[in-house]
């Protein structure tokens, strides 16, 4: 049941070299730098996003994800969800408006998987980059690199998936779109959505908490994925795997790494979801096909290369 959580809002990533990372996300992914703050953090967004930023980069000693945030409909919802999350048994901390530039107050909590999540209701609305709201052109002409359309989802690795499922489904109002079940009946992967998208957030069972697998950006077509692959070669960027297709979600995809080893994905297409749809189930025995539909085997990196 919907709880007033709208959509993915932003992600803050730690990087070892800020300027090299900005170049990667701007010149290769095609994001736009929208601001910087006194802490030295850089704010970026993809062109079709209406709020001021969806990616925040912070220079640090260890790459990985600081937090991922979801936008909620209004401040009253934020209030209600704060109580609900506390009732679920998690500690909620409060970040004042402006702690992230041009973002309203945020609440933070650590999911049982070990990842920090945030909810917020307000962020400065800057509109889509490079197109008008009235009679908009099809796309802005001044796009660079892969021309990423939007920040789409994250895949995270951690343990306590069952409790994490309860948090996201019962408290935050996500739906289960797809899952991987092992022979003992345990859910070892869960793809959750707030929308018609095949996933807004996904988790895979892993012994260690709080690991980051990838942040994914949407492209329109398979041709765009091939062009992304060309750009990865042209820039000698670290390739993980692809272009290929996932079994889960059926999205067409390519995985690669930012200069600090955080995995990125660009993907196109994929299945859709309504709340009345039964979840799709994949068997753990067929995980290779579920993850990489063409190769039908996992590359070792999929399970072990994390930040």
């Amino acid at each position: 049941m919907r709880k007033g959580v709208l959509r993915p809002g932003h992600i803050q990533l730690r990087v070892l070299d800020l300027e090299a990372s900005v170049e990667h996300y701007v010149e290769l992914l095609g994001l736009h730098e929208t601001d910087r703050d006194e802490q030295g953090r850089v704010y970026l967004k993809a062109w079709s996003e209406v709020d001021k930023f969806s990616l925040v980069l912070r220079e640090a000693n260890e790459p990985g994800m600081d937090f991922m945030a979801f936008k909620v409909v209004d401040d009253a919802t934020l209030e209600t969800l704060t109580a609900d999350i506390e009732a679920f048994g998690l500690e909620v901390t409060h970040k004042a408006a402006g702690d992230l530039k041009d973002c309203g107050r945020r609440i933070q909590f650590t999911a049982p998987s070990g990842h920090v999540f945030e909810l917020y209701a307000e962020k400065t609305y800057t509109g889509k980059w490079g197109v008008e709201e009235t009679n908009p052109e099809a796309w802005p002409r001044a796009l660079r690199g892969m021309k990423a359309v939007r920040f789409d989802h994250c895949l995270l690795y951690g343990d306590e998936l069952a409790k994490t499922f309860d948090l996201f489904v019962d408290v935050l109002g996500f739906y289960l779109a797809e899952q991987v079940i092992d022979p003992d009946g345990n859910r070892i992967a869960q793809f959750l959505t707030l929308s018609m998208k095949a996933h807004d957030i996904a988790f895979i069972q892993h012994e260690e908490k709080a690991k980051f697998h990838h942040a994914s950006f949407f492209l329109e077509t398979w041709e765009d994925i091939l062009r992304a692959a060309d750009l990865i070669s042209m820039t000698d960027t670290s390739l993980d795997i692809g272009p290929t297709r996932h079994g889960i979600t059926h999205g067409k995809t390519i995985y690669f790494f930012d200069p600090s080893g955080n995995r990125n994905e660009v993907f196109a297409g994929g299945d859709y979801m309504y709340p009345d749809h039964n979840p799709i189930t994949w068997k753990a025995e067929d995980l290779g096909k579920a993850i990489f539909y063409h190769d039908r085997v996992l590359n070792e990196r999929f399970l072990t290369v994390l930040t």
């Binding site: 092992d182 012994e207 200069p259 072990t304 290369v305 930040t307």
Partner: protein
């Protein structure tokens, strides 16, 4: 510019590496698999090695994979490691990088494959 010889102890594989080249990249260019290849960006720790002999420099690496203390003991991420002499190294993937998925076949650390 000099080429240095890098030798990985477990596999007994050797390859050349240019002075300004990262060891992991040189290994990949030679089509070898002595060291596991991950992110190539100093983040994931699967390419961690211990330098047994030789001198070198390191670009910035994740402290979660190689702490300051470990760095002083000679640990390094091969994807961030540049030789300034011939090197003898030994694979030593970060323990963080070799925990796998529970419930399904675990990915095994690469170095057990190259020992044989």
């Amino acid at each position: 510019m000099s080429d240095y010889v890098i030798t990985e102890q477990h596999s007994q594989q050797s390859f050349t590496c240019k002075q300004d080249e990262f060891v992991l990249k040189a290994m990949e260019n030679h089509g070898l698999h002595a060291i596991a290849v991950g992110c190539r960006g100093g983040g994931c720790g699967v390419c961690r090695v211990k330098v047994i002999a030789g001198s070198y420099e390191c670009a910035r690496m994740s402290k979660a994979q190689v702490s300051t203390e470990q760095q002083q003991q000679g640990y390094a991420l091969a994807c961030r490691l540049k030789p300034t002499s011939d090197l003898i190294i030994e694979c030593s993937p970060s323990p963080l990088a070799i925990t796998g998925l529970t419930g399904v076949a675990k990915a095994k650390p690469k170095h057990t494959e190259v020992i044989k």
